[in-house]
Point group: C2
């Protein structure tokens, strides 16, 4: 069954390409109303984190004055990449709907699948090596956090 | 061997907790010089994507006027979560160094490990369900992208 919000995300993604941006868009919907939209702005804003989903999530949080998307759904023109997937789990919307897949993105030259694969690779063997520096002080930030009496948890 | 940038990230993370933020910090270093720093600002800015690494990456890109961190290293007080890991792969620094682990973060109440585990779960069975909406138009944004002659790739 066609979904109007998904169709809107696809149209927005097409328009974003015509404006010189990447082929991705996303919408945040609450109670049937679009409260925020986002298009890929990586090259326009020199921000590698400005994927459609992150732009839409940040805008929705600004609108709601909250760092959580309780009661919201996210509609994406394409399956979220690992960065956007992580952002979704931190923002905690109710559901995510997407149209194209990571394989579709890969066929158009985007590395989503490669990044998903890298997550399963041991740290030091990744294409960007991740090196664990053992430091006797590494637990201090968490110790301070746990002992804070009135902390804002998230 | 102790690493001065890692030690600095740990100190910044401790200070961020004292200021009411989360227990995480990160630095971007180029040619031995810190060009950007970031602390967790999720609750302060109502932005679930404002993890230390994302804040530092965005700031470094602003400083460099580029959406890539070529020739840069990232130093993190803790192992990056999946969102930050994805951002790192899109920003493409040379290396990432981290002190505490995702298990340390989990022991302090953070869901990094749960999110890593969710990536391996089928879309519809995730704790936030992700629903593939089959739409005959889903390939249009990529079609437009591929056919653009002068596009800014990223």
């Amino acid at each position: 069954m066609p979904n109007a919000f998904i169709q809107q995300s696809i149209e927005m993604a097409v328009e974003n390409v015509h404006r010189g941006g990447g082929p991705f868009a996303a919408l945040v919907v609450k109670d049937g109303i679009v409260i925020a939209t986002g298009c890929n702005q990586v090259t326009r804003t020199n921000d590698p984190t400005a994927h459609a989903e992150l732009v839409a999530i940040r805008e929705a949080c600004r609108v709601l004055g909250d760092f959580q998307l309780k009661g919201c759904d996210l509609y994406c023109s394409c399956e979220p990449c690992p960065m956007c997937l992580g952002a979704i789990f931190w923002a905690r919307p109710e559901r995510v709907f997407f149209a194209a897949t990571r394989a579709d993105a890969g066929a158009a030259g985007f590395e989503d699948t490669l990044i998903y694969e890298q997550i399963a690779v041991p740290h030091s063997e990744r294409s960007i090596p991740m090196i664990h520096v053992v430091d006797p002080q590494s637990g201090r930030p968490f110790g301070e956090w746990v002992s804070q009496p009135h902390k804002a948890e998230y």
